[in-house]
Amino acid sequence: MSFETAKMVDQEDKMTTTDTSPAESAGTAPEGMRVHNLDIFYGNFLAVRNVSMDIEPRAITALIGPSGCGKSTFLRSLNRMHEEIQGARVEGTVTLDGVDLYGPGVDPVVVRRQIGMVFQRPNPFPTMSIAENVLAGMRLNSKKLSKSKANEIVESSLRGANLWEEVKNRLDQPGSGLSGGQQQRLCIARAIAVQPRVLLMDEPCSALDPISTMAIESLMLELKSSYTIVIVTHNMQQAARVSDRTAFFNIDGTGQPGYVVEMDATEKIFSNPTQQATSDYVTGRFG
């Protein structure tokens, strides 16, 4: 598919601009993300301890677990968004296609261009129209775009987010005039417009009604053919419906660090988990 090859070329292009990339990973099939012995701190407080997991490329990985167990913190550490909170730091390694994201000289801004994020509450830019929102990733980085190229990106991204048919006649209207579900799909369109390799989703459906949730879920299933997706969700049915692999996070008590209890294929986690805690959680006995 031409879209696919275009993406690969684009990836090569990006890798050279990051100037942190080992040559061998450029052009080869993506290996996904590898997290090794990751501890996440806020100041001296250990929030998440010793996470090791492989996030497979072109698949959906779900992170489930009770509130406050560090799922979102972990997710945000994957594209270094957690650094926006003062005093946040990590120990351990996170690699994307072999490149250590926390290596010396790696710019978190460049990391985030490769690993996009969709948030719990839809957050389109209120100063921008629908089309401008989609182009925000390029325009804010003052990348020069020809008019035709811009239109092309707007259409392909909105189509990719299943929103094109609904908004094609009002692209110049403000993005905040859309419904919650449409706004969230606009945010997904905005995230995929910059062609990231990984898409992180932090409870993307928790502020949406069931119909919008269904739209986003079917969108995720379409997107996984081109993107690596990691989703945090409180909705276990959602994890069971969309994800290929599931990691269960837990916490021993308030003030204790969160940790990964187990990670496996989604069917295994929901039908026959190895740990008692996982089984209790997925069957609704706690959490």
Binding site: N79, M81, E84, Q86, V109, V110, V111, R112, R113, Q114, G116, M117, F119, R121, N123, P124, F125, P126, T127, S129, A136, G137, R139, L140, N141, S142, Q173, P174, G175, S176, G177, C187, R190, A191, V194
Partner: protein, 356 residues
């Protein structure tokens, strides 16, 4: 049995006979009339202040008693508190209305063409105008804004986006608080002393005046910028960061445009605050009778200073000086209104489309 139940449910007090809409205003008018009678009987005069002082509590008392008899104590207290709120609002508005009314009334006497076209050069009595003071006000306030707005905006951006809770930021915040409390005369003395260092003792200039005003203006701009930037939801910053946009670009292209309407209001409030300053300009910029367009040398007059001298040194006949003073004050109020209107319109045009 069932009919008994129905009657008791009606007796729960769910229904009442509310006062008619005209009762409350009628009571207010009645109390005013009563107060007028009382003041006439006891002092013969019937002064406005005495009437209002008596009418207020009388109104509260009658409202409470009437409402209590008809509607019960809860509604009566509600009515009384409403009356208190309205009375105090009237009390707060009274000086404002009085000031505006007096200024318009007296200022219109000399609000003619000559006022705008002539200066005070070789004018002793009748005639003369405030052209030089209008030009002085525009130059002095404009220069002050040109200094204070960038400094204030960037300090506000630093405090909200970069400094956060660091030691330096806390130090800056407390310095800004101290600056807010500086009496304006001190700012004037500061500017006067500063320019005496360069230009010799007794030097006065428009620029010295604008430095004094900038000292007063900066903390106001910092404060309002801080408040407005804090209102920008953090989610928008995160959305921008998640697209791989750097921090400075996020501030310039996302945070500032979202807050622009509030920032404009803050700046225009700060301008309005200093445009009427008299004391620091008396010291730092002095008084001139003629137009001076060079802010760096020679004295320069502004409208409030002109207004002040209209009374302090009215000339002969003094009425001419008084009238010019009032006209200058009226013009100042109009200029402030224009600044506010322009900033409101600009703010509305630039405001994020989704929030309209």
């Amino acid at each position: 049995m069932t009919s008994e139940l129905a009657t008791t449910s009606l007796d729960l007090g769910l229904s009442s006979r509310p006062l008619s809409r005209t009762t409350i205003p009628a009571i207010a008018i009645l109390s005013l009339v009563l107060a007028q009678i009382v003041t006439r009987v006891f002092s013969g005069g019937g002064s406005v202040v005495a009437t209002l002082v008596i009418a207020g509590p009388t109104n509260l008392a009658i409202t409470y008693v009437v409402s209590r008899r008809r509607e019960g104590s809860r509604r009566a207290i509600d009515r009384m508190v409403t009356a208190v709120v309205y009375s105090l609002m009237t009390l707060a508005l009274a000086p404002l209305v009085s000031v505006v009314w007096t200024t318009v009334d007296r200022g219109l006497a000399r609000f003619d063409g000559e006022l705008f076209t002539s200066t005070m050069r070789s004018v002793v009595g009748d005639g003369g105008g405030v052209k030089h003071a209008i030009i002085g006000t525009v130059i002095i306030t404009g220069l002050a804004a040109a200094m204070a707005v960038p400094i204030g905006l960037f300090t506000g951006i630093y405090l909200v986006e970069y400094g956060k809770k660091s030691r330096l930021a806390r130090l800056v915040v407390s310095m800004v608080d101290v600056m807010t409390g500086i009496p304006s005369i001190v700012a004037g003395l500061f500017a006067y002393a500063l320019f005496s260092q360069f230009q010799g003792p007794g030097a006065r200039s428009g620029f010295a005046g604008s430095v004094a005003l900038a000292v007063l203006m900066t903390p106001i701009v910092v404060r309002s910028t801080q408040e407005m930037l804090r209102l920008v939801p953090n989610e928008l910053r995160e959305a921008s960061y998640a697209l791989g946009v750097s921090k400075w670009r996020t501030i310039v292209k996302v945070v500032l445009p979202t807050a622009v309407s509030g920032l404009l209001t803050g700046v225009s409030l700060a301008i309005a605050r200093v445009i009427g300053e008299t004391a620091p300009l008396l010291i730092a910029a002095g008084l001139a009778q003629d137009t001076n367009t060079n802010p760096f040398s020679g004295r320069m007059t502004s409208l409030p200073v002109m207004s002040y001298y209209g009374y302090a040194a009215p000339g002969f006949p003094p009425e001419a000086g008084y009238d010019r003073g009032w006209s200058a004050a009226l013009l100042l109020i109009i200029i402030v209104l224009v600044i506010f209107s322009v900033s409101r319109i600009l703010g509305r045009v630039l405001r994020p489309k989704g929030l309209r």
